[in-house]
Symmetry: D2
Subunit: 345 residues, 4 copies
């Protein structure tokens, strides 16, 4: 079986496992107060060229989104997001559980258009009934998006500009940021993200770690007593070292970017091979997620040897499915898959 179903089917990158083993018996203080957390933060600040960044390590992605959103918003505020955004659809109502509404805006290829956000905010501000409505208090985007698409630097600048005009923070969910930054043709760098966003996270779980997301507050805007807020949400890890050592390793010798690059190379290899066999893509993705339209018969045959994800029904006879590569994808597996894949008819 060749697995392309997600970018979290393996454990951790071997360099991470090695460091965890090496440091295992060191006696360290808990709750993120250890030297590896400190070192990892310093390296991330440096990689972001954002010396004032305040950083906190959390375990998972939905956890990160709910804590960031809940701690940054006033009680009467909601978060603006694409209707296909992870917070809108696939977090089991975790944001609403904290009391906040997700204010959906129709997506374009998984992205929020800056002009659509501006229109939404303008209409809210002009509405005579706005005191009876949820106040938009933050804009949430993901980069790459759930569709594997990327914002351009120009788009991020425009979103950032809208947010600053309306004085609400821009939050970038970077669960797969490493893959986004490594794409051919992207003009968005880590320092760009740090400059244009008020908060963002650097995902570890899907980019080589066993678990872990680094939350970065770029504008001296970490909520007061954030550790207590994290604890209150049941998200404070006793052995914070587990996150510290992992992120310290990811930001040593550019491991985070190297992981991204490998996955993108594999995804491009896959993409070219699939295209050469005559298949079409649901949309053009530069990242590690490729959404391909297969005939249903082909899909069923393929599923016997390859795992991938159902995406959506295209028509009676065709289905879109997602292939994901990762730091752990082997070139031989991609080539074997391309051999198995029949030419499209």
């Amino acid at each position: 079986m060749i697995l392309f179903e997600s970018d979290y089917t393996e454990g951790a990158h071997p360099e991470i496992m090695k460091r965890l083993a090496e440091t295992n018996l060191e006696q360290l203080p808990g709750y993120g107060n250890d030297k590896y957390c400190a070192s990892a933060k310093e390296k991330i600040r440096s990689a972001c060229r954002c010396p004032q960044a305040e950083i906190f390590f959390l375990v998972g992605g939905t956890q990160t989104n709910l804590i960031v959103i809940d701690s940054m918003l006033k009680s009467y505020e909601g978060v603006v997001a694409a209707d296909t955004g992870h917070v809108s659809t696939h977090e089991a109502g975790a944001i609403e559980y904290t009391g906040h509404k997700v204010l959906p805006i129709p997506h374009v290829n998984g992205k929020l258009e800056p002009e659509a956000v501006r229109r939404f905010l303008e209409i809210f501000c002009a509405d005579g009934n706005r005191e009876h409505m949820v106040f938009p208090g933050m804009v949430y985007i993901s980069h790459p998006t759930e569709f594997g698409t990327l914002y351009t630097k120009h788009e991020l600048q425009a979103l950032s500009q809208v947010c600053r005009e309306y004085q609400i923070p821009l939050f970038l969910d970077g669960a797969r940021l490493g893959y986004g930054l490594a794409c051919e043709g992207t003009d968005v760098t880590l320092p760009d993200v740090a400059e244009l966003c008020d908060i963002f996270c650097i995902g570890g779980t899907k980019v080589g770690a066993l678990c872990g997301e680094a939350v970065i507050f770029t504008k001296n805007n970490m909520p007061k007593h954030f550790l207590t807020i994290v604890k209150q949400h049941g998200a404070l890890l006793a052995k914070g070292r587990l996150l510290g050592v992992q992120f310290d390793t990811l930001f040593t010798d550019d491991l985070y970017l190297r992981i991204g690059r490998h996955a993108i190379e594999m995804a491009q290899l896959l993409k070219r091979g699939i295209a050469e066999k005559g298949y079409e893509f649901l949309l053009d993705s530069p990242t590690n997620q490729q959404i391909v339209i297969l005939g249903n018969e082909t899909m069923r045959e393929l599923a016997k040897e390859v795992s991938f994800n159902f995406w959506e029904n295209v028509d009676e006879n065709h289905t879109a499915v997602r292939f994901a590569t990762s730091w752990a994808t082997k070139e031989e597996d991609v080539r074997r898959f391309l051999e198995i894949l029949p030419t499209s008819v």
Copy 2:
């Protein structure tokens, strides 16, 4: 100034004020345990032809919606509603504050289409990721809707049928139910509502009371310890008599329906007069809310002598505005308004 801006600009219907005065010095137990609450419940059960109905009186509409939804749903469930539903837009996130997502479906004239609800539920049940999503746990409709439109009996039956198939309750928000039941041409009666819905409320605030909504559980489905739940939400009225006396009066000698009929007569008078002057309506409403398209110049002039509500911009030169009648609308005011209204050009 002639006020058509809402159906709650006056105090209470005079018969209610009279009963409140007459009973004022009686010593009665608190928290809804008084004889007027008991009597009101009995009269409502009878009017609904639903002898098993369990009834609780609450103060306001948003309060009613949030308590019904929060107490009926499991923590991981959300409520399906039209994207224009009151719970979706104009309750300041009160539903989300209780931890539950409002799952929006595009409306058609303010209404939820039964087939759209069915499709939504089907897609959810077929989604391989549904365990990571909010479970639809209730369907919310309002009757009349925010647009002043009404469901037919056939539509209510179809919605009820879908809900029963998927074993989730149907909740009808009847904040303006009295006006809906009194409309010409409607085939929906109070016993129909009680039969087809699992929970509904009979609005008092907008139909002649100082305040008050009667929540009716029709299927022996009132949540256990509902009084405690109400108290926990800060919604238990110490002097429950205030609600008991009012609803007892509303359901004595058909006052609730008489109030509805008067408002509808006034609305029809208004509607015919406006149409005769050559204006168009945003949509055809049989209820006490009429949404009319005015030229902006006419609108501005009219606003000097008449109050109404902004609804939406139609084009550069035209605006849709809402006129609402009520139990307190005087025929002379309607006629005076029609005199003031210039013929459309």
Copy 3:
């Protein structure tokens, strides 16, 4: 039956009923934007000698407590209260429902001792684990307390001083404030309350109104967008006039204080009479609540003609019960009760 079971067994004071009737057909804007709310606020500001006071009218007491506490606290803060405080015991967990812990301190006659509060805050601040604990973010007291006792001005000053040192607000729940202010021997005035507390409420429900509590922010500290917060909690009254007219009447010609004085006179009459018959009191209360120790046999006999509240078991043969007077208590009822009451043996 003579009712002493609570101070909310009747409807509203006749002057209030009269004003509600007189203003009933006036057309007024909703949500508290009417002239009666404005006038009532002005009169309250004047009675408090607090021209900058920001005032909002809510319907009920638990509702007031939960909204004030939830809107003033940070998410990680709790409210310090006596272990017998209303918020600690008899609000069905309404405070916790908003996500905030009530931090209990042992009471002394229903009161919080300033030194106990100071010690609690000192210990918290000195605790090395405080980041893993709930931060004390407010001090809640009631005046009169649940036991019918009163703070002295000196005690209020000391509590206020502690709160200012620790920079947390002092909130006084005045559900029965009118009775407290009217007591013989009290040196606490309404302007004192306004000066020493950061927020307080003036209770209407138990002091002559059908419903209603006035929330008063004395230090330009009303949370931003408070109306939206109120709406979000389901507590915004559409016909705000109902509260405006009532409080406007209560603060016209000193009605609020006149109501208080009458109840206190009745309570003193009751207290003297009961004492003369040889009974003991659980504690010495100057307010409209008198807690008396009765032999169980006497209690059972009395209960046939008089209603009162169980308070607690004193020993095998004696029970403490509460008698409450109100604005509506008639002198003839008190005298009749004293005739019925047998001499203690």
Copy 4:
């Protein structure tokens, strides 16, 4: 520096690290659907002699407590706990954040007395105002307690009996269960815990794992759609294998018990040595936590070479401090410490 400050200063037990490394590159499904989770559950069921046990792996202790309590309670219920219980004091209000009150009962050596629980439940049920109060919906205990003390089997049976009479579940927080089960003289076994409790957790974080708590529902009482509830609380781990492999290892060849036994041996060595030097203990603890009374001068000197935890001030000149041993404590460190420790004067 010799560290006795907690039982989570090291990483994971070497056998766990070895298994994580060995399985690291296996491709496995996410969210706990992997074979290691399945195998670990089977081994735990077997160790508990509870074949019907439903098991879910979570990351942390506070997270476990809040999810178990929130998912098992009705909205109007609270959890009964010792006033010193972890949920009462050191979880930053995480339980209240989910909307539920912690109902505190005075502890005796960190434990809840069965008779005190019974009295509390009796009083609640007899209270005429109970509908205005938080309903006790669960009893929470920890074993070992925060004080390092243990329940006897007889006490657990009595608590279990009270809970069954009142039909509320008994929840045992076993964050340090491994140390409790390994104590000399305890008559409580893992199958006893499974039989007597309705839910309990087996702590991994403090007993040899990098992170992880196994939640065990023993009575076919796992809440429906528990995975979705976990996701909604931000607690679903994408790479569930991290927990599965760890617990599978802990329950292979009795590792969990071996870890416990080692820590207890070290604690007993420490305890005897400290006693021989003439010091007193705040209370007699059989577990891995020893609370010792030191002269302040001795404490300050010792702190230069040994880390331990402040517990409480005993008098002006003496302080109680906590020493904790773990799976990783080395005998040589204990002996070295005992050499450093001066004889008490």
